[in-house]
Symmetry: C2
Subunit: 159 residues, 2 copies
Amino acid sequence: MAIDHLDGRLIVLLAREPRIGVLEASRRLGVARGTVQARMDRLQSNGVIRGFGPDVDPAALGYPVTAFATLEIKQGQGADVRAHLATVAEVLELHTITGHGDMLCRLVARSNADLQRVIDRVVGFDGIVRASTAIVMENPVPLRIIPLVEQASDDTEPG
Amino acid sequence: MAIDHLDGRLIVLLAREPRIGVLEASRRLGVARGTVQARMDRLQSNGVIRGFGPDVDPAALGYPVTAFATLEIKQGQGADVRAHLATVAEVLELHTITGHGDMLCRLVARSNADLQRVIDRVVGFDGIVRASTAIVMENPVPLRIIPLVEQASDDTEPG
DNA sequence: TATTCGCTGGGCAATATGCGCAGCAGAACA
DNA sequence: TGTTCTGCTGCGCATATTGCCCAGCGAATA
């Protein structure tokens, strides 16, 4: 479950040079090829590494606007709302949360005007009582995981 | 900029079988190897595909708790706050959003109790006036991009 | 009509992969 | 103290893939 320092270095290396081969990775890390192979297998069957899916930029696809919407759901309609939102391609992720509002979702749109269409599509569903939207202006820290990986691997093996 | 249907199929294929080679991809798509190579190069230099970084699961690293925090920032302290949050490994992403100079960030923690430590760390900074946190309970739609890719490629080439 | 562009299909040397193997050091354990 | 695991090493081999070249060809374009 926990990762050691070699795992951490391997993940960082993979993040930096994603299309690197096992052999080259073993050279960079200074370990045997079989070791890298075994570590990668373990990390993947552990679920630490879910996959190596291509990291697609919505903006480059023509969806440069990102927003977060907090949704208030009618009692007992949760499952229907989830199913509805799953069918909307512009809904990139959906969470159920504590506190004010019941769900939080990340939306993308082709423009600010187009965002209105997306929101209408999202909230145009019976179970949704109210939606409150915040448009993203800047993204000073894009989604990242490497610092956490380094922290986790340092926790395990301080050397 | 826009992607055609072949690009879409290629991205979907890469998403489904990430460690696939160029040759195998060309066989699956029924096109020449050079074509796949050229498309991949183009998608990457376009910025449509940012990379193939390993998709690491924070939960498997020992951080199963996710939360979103909305921050209220003291006027003119934005840059300092951004720099501060960038140093906190548990801050996985940070956005500035519309409203009153506010920010939205995604946090992870080792437990609900540990989340308190993270929040203290986040808000224990001069420029932050107030923080409101929503803990994620379920994640019905994990971060995804494939439906949007399919939509974008269908827009371009309906056939 | 001439040109450009993207795709095809082939060939080539160099490289990487998947796989198996034995040896070895350290840790756990009786 | 001796035994058993476990993980890493370093090696070899057959096969598959890569990176790079080329000429031809059809469609769109000037």
